[in-house]
Symmetry: C2
Subunit: 254 residues, 2 copies
């Protein structure tokens, strides 16, 4: 935030190169409602872009407005404050994540290996929706309380959906709801850790993307193996066998 100030000296802000500075003052045309929506989207997009370098708390209303090509006061026509914009951004950023879950569930990659497919889809989505994932992980434990809450709520929903999926895969009634939820939580947090690692991969050499994904795949497979062993030492062998199938095909490290 500090080094940015070096750009805007006490010049007139007039004599800049006419073609330089690609500041688009919101594309024109369309009905009133369309134009408003476009400006609103521009504000969200700009914030998402800026979050790549600083956290939401470090981004000012004025800067967002400036980058979106409107005057600071016009910001209020769309959002009450930056905090409210942040909460809205959670919803928007969650959309690709929800799509990801849907993709993973239908087994789009469809190689018959659920884990491999899921991890591969995760990698693709993080690559193509980098900014959204960055926003979510950065602000999950960040400074703005309302935004943190919103993310937390969505993530809980995510976990409970996965719990349902797991229940289906484990023959439903052999595992307690508590154990299912515990396992789903472990998987979600493993995937989140993977997302965070992926996002830090450039700028931090040493681990490359593929390596992280391979590790995530093995971690999930380890968990699946654990599921197979969880109850197998006693109670219902046929359910345990079913769970174990999730972990297959297992191909340990060379």
């Amino acid at each position: 935030m500090r080094d940015v100030t070096a750009l805007s000296g006490p010049n007139g802000a007039r004599s800049l190169h006419p073609v330089m500075e690609g500041r688009r003052p919101v594309p024109e045309g369309g009905s009133r409602a369309e134009r408003k929506e476009r400006t609103r989207q521009a504000l969200l997009d700009v914030t998402l872009r800026l979050i790549a370098q600083r956290s939401l708390a470090g981004i000012s209303l004025r800067e967002v407005a400036r980058e979106a090509g409107i005057v600071p006061t016009a910001f209020y026509r769309h959002f009450e404050s930056m905090d409210v914009l942040g909460v809205e951004l959670v919803d928007e950023s969650m959309r690709p994540l929800r799509q990801m879950i849907r993709d993973a569930r239908r087994g789009r990659a469809g190689h018959g290996d659920i884990i491999k497919g899921t991890v591969s889809i995760l990698g693709e989505h993080v690559r193509s929706h980098r900014a959204q994932f960055q926003f979510l992980t950065r602000e999950r434990y960040g400074g703005v309380a309302s935004v943190r809450r919103a993310i937390d709520t969505e993530l809980r929903l995510f976990t409970s959906e996965l719990t349902v999926d797991l229940a289906r895969l484990t023959a439903a009634n052999d595992w307690s709801a508590e154990d299912l939820e515990m396992t789903a939580d472990l998987m979600v947090s493993t995937m989140l850790a993977t997302v965070m690692a992926l996002l830090e991969v450039d700028g931090r050499r040493g681990e490359d993307e593929q390596q992280i994904l391979v590790r995530a795949e093995r971690q999930l497979r380890l968990i699946a193996l654990g599921m197979g062993a969880w109850r197998s030492a006693g109670s219902r062998p046929e359910a345990a066998r079913r769970v174990r199938a999730v972990g297959r095909p297992l191909r340990p490290a060379t």
Copy 2:
């Protein structure tokens, strides 16, 4: 003679109102070095206290100085900037965490159950060093790049230490270094997720502390079971048996 220092400037500026504000201006007494160290510590403490509500990026140098009872300019006698203070704070906050690892390793709780003991120690430390853990988790993916780096480095060290421990527990040469690191990473991220959940427990009813710790224990046990099964389906059964012992005693959900 322009070095006439006898300027009749508007010095005055003797003592202000004796009872200005209830701000403690750094406890007095001791040598110069001691007083300096105390002020320095006050700056760190104040920042740690303020981080409970906002992120580091949202805390100003002036506010920290004010709360520590010194004038803004005096801040520079101790730190070049808030960013540098942040990096220093990482080091300081890591100390309790390092102590925790040492405790866990020696099995201070000493019930013979490594997992139970570790989780219990984790819970205790989070309770008694709340602010430090909050700082670390909040800033791990936060806005200040240098702080993020510092935390990342320390956490990597943590993981590699755990890798060594795992190597010892798994008979050293049956598992590849890569697999050991993968597993250690999974365990660390599980524990970090637990820390984060613990920190959000109050202010967010529904899950209480004990519940989170029980879940973490089960998650780690699930992982340990996974380790037992990882290689057992083929290669070196006696090593697998050894690993499996880590997971015991296993007492699945009621």
